[in-house]
Subunit: 313 residues, 2 copies
């Protein structure tokens, strides 16, 4: 495909069109992704997550500038699965990062919820592949939110940064086991605020108590992003983590795991679509629902029945 070639040669308009193909699930998307797949696997994918108000966008901004010192290409994918309530926010943030937009070595893309959440994580995963195959050395996935869906998206990263901040209150920040498990680096941002030391201390204590330990002990770093304080240390740790992943062979294990999940989820999505089409084509759905509404049938019996019928075919 010409579009794929142009995108791989550094044409950002072609790249943008490729991503749009994938987002809109156009038929050509699969062809493009198949063509790109052999070139994937070189980028370090960095996930950045944390509660709203933790200053993720500013941190990402400064971090990108730091990573650009080595003249490596950086892509930022800003994912916002929580759009019903917070949709506008992250796009606004992205537009504000105007000086990054002027840097030819940086590509920025926002993605919001389209239809199902499954759809968003499938699309994000495909976009990472596109950027990887288009020679971006760092791909940063930034999520706006605090929910399970963000966690699922961040799991696509090789290196995950969890950004915390003092004084957001327990309602938003109460740290749970899940967060400790996904973080490779913990950043206490806005560290000039009261209580920063306490957050660092609590995080370290909780990390100490973690049941499953690995050779990589997640560091807890302080930063004041808007003053560019602590950013170099974060960039260094990100590179150090990648080296650790490569040398320990853990990168391959992680990527294999992700591929497995991806394959299975594509398969299940396709099956679902097929079944819906089949049931609707046969016009049986109305009949089934009538019986359910009248309580002549229960949903669990019906499911068994649909299964049995499928096997007969």
């Amino acid at each position: 495909m010409e579009l794929v070639q142009r995108a791989r040669q550094g044409d950002y308009r072609a790249l943008a069109r490729l991503i749009t193909l994938v987002e809109n699930e156009e038929p050509e998307a699969v062809e493009a992704l198949q063509e790109l797949y052999p070139y994937t696997g070189k980028a370090q994918v960095i996930g950045i997550t944390g509660p709203p108000g933790s200053g993720k966008s500013t941190l990402t901004d400064k971090l990108v500038k730091e990573l650009r010192r080595d003249n490596k290409k950086v892509a930022i994918v800003a994912v916002d699965p929580t759009s019903p309530f917070t949709g506008g926010a992250i796009l606004g943030d992205r537009i504000r990062m105007s000086d990054l937009n002027l840097d030819e070595g940086v590509y920025i893309r926002s993605m919001g919820t389209r239809g199902s959440l499954g759809g968003l994580s499938a699309a994000t995963s495909a976009v990472i592949k596109i950027l990887d195959a288009c020679n971006f050395e760092y791909i940063i996935i930034e999520t706006v939110g605090v929910g399970q869906s963000e966690i699922d998206i961040v799991k696509m990263a090789d290196t995950t940064l969890v950004v915390m901040v003092p004084g957001l209150g327990d309602d938003i920040q109460a740290i749970k086991a899940g967060i400790l498990e996904i973080g490779d680096l913990f950043i206490v941002n806005k560290a000039d605020r009261d209580g920063a030391n306490r957050v660092v201390y609590e995080l370290k204590m909780m990390l100490e108590l973690k049941s499953e330990k690995s050779a990589w002990e997640p560091p807890v770093l302080m930063a004041i992003s808007d003053q560019n304080i602590g950013i170099k240390e974060i960039a260094d740790k990100i590179k150090e983590h990648f080296n650790y992943l490569v040398e320990s062979n853990y990168l391959e294990i992680k990527r294999r795991d992700r591929l497995e999940k991806e394959i299975l989820s594509i398969v299940s999505m396709k099956i679902y679509q097929q079944i819906v089409r089949k049931i609707k084509r046969e016009g049986k759905l109305k009949e089934y629902l009538d019986a359910l509404m009248k309580k002549e049938l229960d949903p669990y019996k019906l499911v068994k029945q649909i299964f049995a019928e499928m096997k007969d075919n």
Copy 2:
């Protein structure tokens, strides 16, 4: 099942055990749900959602007391899909509602993420059925968060309350179309705060501009929950909305739609599980992943291959 009978007779310990069966996906769960299904369909399911800090828990608390004046049984299901960051919060809130716990006509249950999000909404849907069949007249589903997953859960409700609050800032609250579509009642809580009138005005304006209108025009109500101000009006509107749903026949349409989605999602989940088992049993997954990692195969080709093999069997 004895457990089902005891739960239906008002034994809360039996009820709690039934819900746990469903949450843990025990084999007896399906049997129990089949037995309960004919008794479902009477309760009004009320969804309450809104950003963290909007005072949903206090509002729920007062609303339950108001609804209890008619001596009808009320169940609260506090669902927290965002547990990695905010997990502890809602449980804490629930424990604080100690005077509700003393009321024999109120049953409170918290549910958090277990495995997949799909799992949580399937479990929530089953729990609603259990409570409905156990003669709760009002079932309130309260979600802690702001994300797409909460929206999906709230869609199980007959009547949805969206709680807003002045002064949370655009970052958290930016109102998007999705929210306007799901709300049957909009509450501006903490209405003694600065800016309450503006939030009411903005909401009304956005509701005016909505493209799809129905005979039910969602009211925007003010409340100061901790002073019990505005609660009776909310309870009245909730009852009014249910009457509207029944009389317009829209309740049946909504419930039919929900059943359809539920059936299709149970079927696809089951098929998915079967395929995963099949692929893993045949030991092919390792081989597939090796080829993918070596780029001898791409994920999309593999999916086609898996499909072709399935049809041959």
